[in-house]
């Protein structure tokens, strides 16, 4: 059973990887990578790393791939494939990747790791191996420093991504910037959908438009109310 599952998911993983590099449209490459990642998670499960497999599916095939899908739909470039490079480049790439793959396979299947071949049966696992409890305990005790460094790295990456993808009004900001108090107060339209898609100025303009519309609507309703009151008074006067 394990063997069948292993070969099935290994074949799917390799096919997905080939699809990533062979498909023409980046969007299709992203979808092939999703297939590859799910098959890889299956392999992780076969290695009794349940938590990593779950994280792989949730974080990768879920969140990161959504990011990829959005960006590839946004950028939307098509037409380049692995055959469109120069012939020399392709030959060199094939040579390098092929020789690396051969060396890796020789090292792993051949004589390289004799300890692995002699080991025979794998050690029996304790209960809870690869579960969230074991990983959490290791992360917060022995590997606390790596954990903190990873969180710092994630923070830096998030800030960097926001800085990189931010829309600038005049290309790149030049020269030193002087920060005024008013810069700290968000202007109208900050954080809105319009700002994200059409820039800060458009968002401000839209916000100003909305404000003007509201003022006009208030004034019209006030005028209408005043007219109604006057009419009512007239009617009262006429009745009396």
């Amino acid at each position: 059973m394990t063997e069948v599952l292993f070969f099935l998911s290994a074949i799917v993983a390799i096919a997905g990887a080939v699809g990533v590099i062979a498909l023409k449209n980046p969007f299709n490459s992203v979808l092939a990578l999703v297939v590859h990642l799910v098959a890889l998670a299956m392999l992780f499960l076969l290695l009794h790393s349940e938590f990593i497999a779950a994280a792989q599916v949730v974080v990768y095939a879920g969140a990161v791939m959504v990011l990829y899908v959005f960006v590839s739909a946004y950028v939307g470039e098509e037409g380049e494939t692995w055959t469109s490079g120069g012939r020399l480049q392709r030959a060199l790439a094939f040579l390098l990747a092929g020789s690396l793959g051969t060396v890796l396979l020789i090292a792993m299947l051949g004589s390289g790791l004799r300890g692995l071949a002699d080991a025979g049966e794998l050690p029996t696992l304790e209960a809870g191996f690869g579960g969230a409890a074991q990983i959490g305990e290791l992360l917060l005790t022995r590997y606390l420093l790596a954990f903190e460094a990873a969180s710092l790295l994630l923070l830096a990456a998030a800030v960097g991504a926001v800085l990189l993808a931010r829309r600038r009004e005049d290309g790149i900001a030049e020269g030193p910037r002087v920060l005024a108090v008013t810069d700290l107060v968000p202007s109208a339209g900050t954080g809105s959908m319009t700002e994200g898609t059409r820039g800060t100025l458009a968002a401000r303009a839209m916000e100003a438009d909305r404000l003007a519309e509201r003022v006009i609507a208030e004034r019209t309703s006030a005028a209408k109310k005043a007219a109604e009151q006057a009419e009512a008074k007239d009617g009262d006067g006429g009745g009396a």
Binding site: S29, V64, V75, E80, W82, A97, G101, A158
Partner: protein, 99 residues
């Protein structure tokens, strides 16, 4: 089932990813190929973790996933910035970093 099989699959996946990094020119697909490389590394880490049965390899695999996520966010930010400048989404045509 011996972990040598898993290591072999990991080696094949790594070679495929490396080939993709060499031949593709769309930075988006390059990032996907880097994912292939990191996934292959994770597979062999977890295989050795199964071999030693101590759980340390899982931690390293998680850190690799964190690094991959960081690389994705920054890389996709660069791709979006390139697109907004009207530059070609092609690493061969992107010759300068400034402007």
């Amino acid at each position: 089932m011996s972990i040598v099989w898993y290591l072999a699959v990991s080696g094949i996946l790594f070679a495929i990813g490396l080939f993709g990094v060499f031949v593709r020119r769309n930075p988006l697909v390059l990032l996907l190929c880097l994912e292939l490389l990191l996934g292959a590394g994770n597979l062999s880490l977890l295989a050795f973790d199964r071999y030693h049965a101590q759980g340390d390899g899982s931690i390293l695999a998680i850190i690799v996933m964190v690094v991959a996520a960081c690389e994705v966010t920054v890389g996709l930010g660069i791709v979006v910035a390139m697109f907004r400048r009207g530059q070609a989404i092609d690493v061969d045509k992107t010759r300068e970093l400034h402007g």
